[in-house]
């Protein structure tokens, strides 16, 4: 273990409670065989800082545990086979219909196993919560700059977890072999076939012949319950280990510095809170699953390439990809040199890969622009990094427009507007939305920083109007306490990079590019106030 030594600041020795004899003996037995006391010494009083937003990663972790537990239960009953069977189960409307064993066994889980439907729904709701929590956790880390050195690698691992979670979601969604998921696979098939050179063959091998084939459920089952979870658990382990090694970030606050961690120790407070929180998350998921139906596959029917219903949609986390397919302008497909170039597919793949790539590598890009090689353990308030926050807002807008596009037909029917109008509006928004969001967010951040600066210097308006002897009216400003002021003034400040020639006396293109990025990032800046300013501000 490379965990850095933790030094409990205030060691407390508690007297051994009654019945401690057995505990002592058991602890001794285990320690003599595992040396586990070292681990307890290292981790037992490790400090975790407290903030509500730090809970989002925990939600993801705990819903993943719920997924593992409920999923294991489901594997005992599910048959991952596309062999044809005739349904004779309890659900009357589908009796006598030919379907795959996968679909039939999913019906049996839902209608013949006590608690089967409950745990199918627990599994599905937990999966939705898992991905939602990961998304929010990523946004928290992004907007607070918690990805900066030394946590860039852990951000990347987290990104991998995010992609794995979506892959888990999609493979799991496809397993019941129902009409809705089958149409989802059909779209994947179409998307893959659009890939130049290898697409046709990838589709052919994936589906074990022509679509839909009879292999896919078995393949996806292996991937869903073995391959992806193994990678996910391994990556999750590294993610958590690095969090322990780097220690958690904390928000700026009185007494909190870049060199300390202020919070609660693992034993007992954090363990009790986190352990309790696991049960709360589990409980909330079970509560939702017992009250709200999710993915009622029996109403869709078994997969058949011919029928479909209006308003088909994937689970929400795949929406952005489906929406991207819908927003491609007409006619983006060409025959060139005897081959078909399906840019209506290729462009979607490129856009999504570039977007996700920017997300994955953002910490490295920002680190390169600032050139800051110091460790950062104090998280930013989003307003104090205006350009980053604006970039994030632009990214969120881009994602949101793609996501909304997956419901373009539903929007048209619900609001009684034309489908063409919805699509064209969203196409325009996909380009304009991020630009608008960027500028608005940046201005709002800068304005908030100015306001903070004003308050830190002159205090806040007390609402008390005083008339001076000369007849002048003024409003009395209350000064902040040192503690309150500290929250407003402790943030990092960067200046744009000045280009300087390197040792050979040359200015490289890369450095020029870095400098322009740096100007873009830090041109508009509001410096934190200094002691000198406060002293002057006092005699205002």
């Amino acid at each position: 273990m490379t965990v850095t030594a933790s030094r409990p600041v205030e060691a407390e020795v508690e007297p051994i409670s009654s019945g401690g004899k057995f505990t002592t003996a058991a602890a001794n037995y285990i320690d003599e065989r595992t040396s586990i006391s070292g681990l307890v010494k290292e981790l037992g009083r490790k400090i975790f800082p407290d903030h509500w937003s730090f809970m989002l990663g925990e939600v993801a972790l705990y819903s993943f545990i719920v997924i593992l537990l409920s999923g294991t239960f489901l594997t005992f009953f599910f048959q991952p086979s596309m062999a044809e069977v005739v349904y004779h189960g309890s659900y009357v409307p589908l009796k006598g219909i030919t379907m795959s064993a996968a679909y039939s066994s999913t019906l049996n889980i839902s209608f013949d196993i006590r608690g089967g439907l409950l745990f199918r729904q627990v599994h599905h709701w937990a999966a939705l919560l898992f991905i939602a929590a990961i998304g929010l956790h990523m946004l928290r880390v992004f907007f607070t700059g918690a990805f900066r050195k030394p946590r860039e690698i852990n951000w990347f691992i987290g990104f991998v977890l995010f992609v794995l979670a979506m892959a888990e979601g999609f493979t799991g969604y496809s397993l019941p072999d129902d009409l809705l998921s089958g149409n989802g696979l059909r779209i994947i098939d179409g998307l893959i076939k659009g890939i130049p050179v290898v697409g046709t063959w990838i589709s052919y091998l994936l589906f074990g012949g022509e679509f839909p084939g009879n292999k896919l459920v078995a393949e996806f089952y292996s991937i869903h319950i073995l391959l992806l979870p193994a990678i996910l658990v391994a990556a999750l382990g590294v993610h958590l280990l690095l969090m322990v090694v780097n220690k958690h970030t904390q928000f700026a606050g009185p007494g909190r510095t870049n060199d300390n961690v202020v919070g609660v120790p693992i034993l007992p407070v954090f363990a009790a809170k986190a352990g309790g929180f696991f049960f709360v998350i589990f409980g909330v998921i079970v509560l939702i699953a017992s009250l709200f139906t999710i993915n009622p596959i029996w109403t869709y029917g078994p997969y058949d390439p011919s029928p479909i219903s209006a308003g088909t949609q994937p689970d929400w986390y795949i929406g952005f990809a489906d929406g991207a397919l819908r927003l491609v302008p007409p006619g983006w497909e060409f025959v060139l040199w005897g081959h078909t170039w399906s840019f209506n597919m290729i462009s979607v793949i490129i856009v999504l890969v570039v977007f996700l790539g920017l997300v994955a590598f953002y910490p490295f890009i920002e680190g390169w622009v600032t050139g800051d090689k110091r460790e950062h353990h104090i998280t930013d308030r989003p307003r104090n990094a205006p350009t980053r926050t604006a970039i994030g807002a632009a990214g969120v807008t881009f994602y949101a427009v793609l996501w909304a596009a997956a419901s373009s037909d539903l929007m048209a029917t619900h609001f009684k507007i034309t489908l063409e109008g919805v699509i064209h509006t969203l196409q325009a928004l996909l380009i304009l939305g991020p630009i608008i969001a960027y500028h608005v967010t940046k201005r709002v951040c800068l304005a908030l920083m100015k306001k903070d600066r004003e308050i830190a210097l002159h205090g806040y308006e007390s609402g008390r109007i005083v008339r001076l002897p000369g007849g002048e009216y003024i409003e009395v400003h209350e000064q902040l306490s040192d503690y309150e002021r500290w929250r407003l003034v402790s943030y990092e400040d960067y200046t744009p990079l000045m280009i300087r020639p390197n040792r050979q006396g040359k200015i490289t293109g890369a450095e020029r590019f870095r400098s322009s990025l740096s100007r873009w990032f830090f041109e508009d800046r509001i410096s934190p106030i200094t002691k000198g300013e406060i002293e002057q501000g006092g005699h205002h």
Binding site: L117, G190, V197, G213, G255, E375, Y491, Y494, L497
Partner: protein, 354 residues
């Protein structure tokens, strides 16, 4: 390497965010006139720290919640027995799901809330401080690590014996190759591009109802109606789904003078009855929505819209190619039959298609 002078809680003076890490700050501004960290504010005691009665109440709340959790779990077991599933009765499924779920949820929630309540009200309430250390190993550790690699290199001759090293790298690159080959037999030995170019339709195949398989008389296809159609002989085939995924067809009847048939395709319809592939040329979804008034076909997946009056050319959406038309006519008994297979591959585009 950072040095921590004390383990105290008060911060030293420095820039706005203190850094004892002396690495390159890049373009960050390091101010000498920054405001000082005022240190941890005084700890405020909770009501349970001050009032023994409140403490007692809190304690009672915690164990009540834990007992409630036990009740919930036992209730769930009882519900499992008390609300069995009766075959064919969906209400029994709903009740089983509901009460089993509520019991389990109560067991979990009361347990979780109890633990958090305990931590928040009765466990130690003030915050502790722990010092951080830069993540990099100490200089001594790093030197030793470098030394170990050097020793390993020396003792094995990895850097010196280049022939061994290069052949090793070659072997490591080559060993996964069989793994790639192994996946070839996921699909049978055939050329997928050829398979994609043909469907079950051939000259004389009857058009039949999907899913019943009953043949369709031309006289049954009235103006404005739409039929979901599969080829005769599809039902019962081992590869029925694969064939259907290519051969599914929509049959519609329009006023013959509304059809704008291009040269060579004038005879592909029968008295205004036209048959078009149901598989979208974009991503392969069934183009199942027919607007009777406008004679447009809409794909519900990505909103590609095809105009039946103009040979199903794309009038909106991401699809490029029109839906392929199946040439049809009638046989001696008046049933609709195909004149031939489609004249081009149906469904989503693929690389080998030209």
């Amino acid at each position: 390497m950072a040095q921590h002078d004390d383990g105290g809680t008060n911060a030293a003076a420095g820039s706005a965010v203190e850094h004892s890490d002396l690495s390159d700050p890049g373009t960050a501004v390091v101010s000498s006139d920054a405001i000082q960290n005022p240190g941890l504010p005084p700890h405020r005691l909770r009501v349970t720290d001050i009032d023994p009665k409140k403490e007692k109440t809190a304690e009672r709340n915690v164990y009540t919640l834990f007992y409630l959790s036990i009740v919930g779990s036992i209730f769930a077991v009882a519900a499992y027995v008390a609300f069995p599933i009766t075959p064919g009765n969906t209400t029994s499924v709903r009740l089983n799901t509901l009460f089993l779920g509520l019991g389990i949820a109560l067991g979990l929630l009361a347990l979780g809330i109890g633990a958090i309540y305990w931590a928040k009200n009765l466990m130690r309430g003030d915050e502790l401080t722990e010092m951080r250390h830069t993540t990099r190993g100490s200089d001594a550790t790093r030197e030793r690590a470098v030394e170990i690699f050097k020793e390993g290199n020396q003792e094995s001759g990895f850097g010196r014996r280049s022939l061994i090293r290069n052949s090793l790298i070659g072997a490591l690159l080559a060993f996964p190759l069989p793994g790639i080959v192994l996946f070839r037999d996921l699909a049978p030995a055939a050329d997928p591009a050829k398979l994609l170019s043909h469907t079950m339709w051939k000259k004389g195949t009857r058009l039949t109802h999907d899913p019943s398989g009953a043949p369709i008389k031309a006289s049954d296809v009235t103006l404005g109606s739409v039929f979901h159609v599969i080829p005769e002989g599809l039902i019962g085939r081992e590869d029925a789904l694969e064939q259907k995924a290519k051969a599914a067809v929509l049959v519609m009847r329009l006023e013959p003078d509304l059809l704008h048939a291009s040269k060579g395709r004038e005879k592909w319809n029968y008295n205004g009855i036209v048959a078009y592939s149901k598989i979208c040329t974009h991503a392969g979804c069934p183009v199942a929505l027919y607007e009777q008034q406008t004679h447009h076909l809409l794909c519900p997946c990505h909103s590609s819209t095809f105009d039946v009056e103009h040979e199903c050319e794309v009038i909106f959406g991401p699809a490029k190619r029109p839906l392929p038309q199946l040439p049809i006519t009638v046989d001696s008994e008046g049933y609709l039959i195909a004149q031939s297979d489609f004249h081009e591959p149906v469904g989503p585009s693929f690389w080998e298609r030209s």
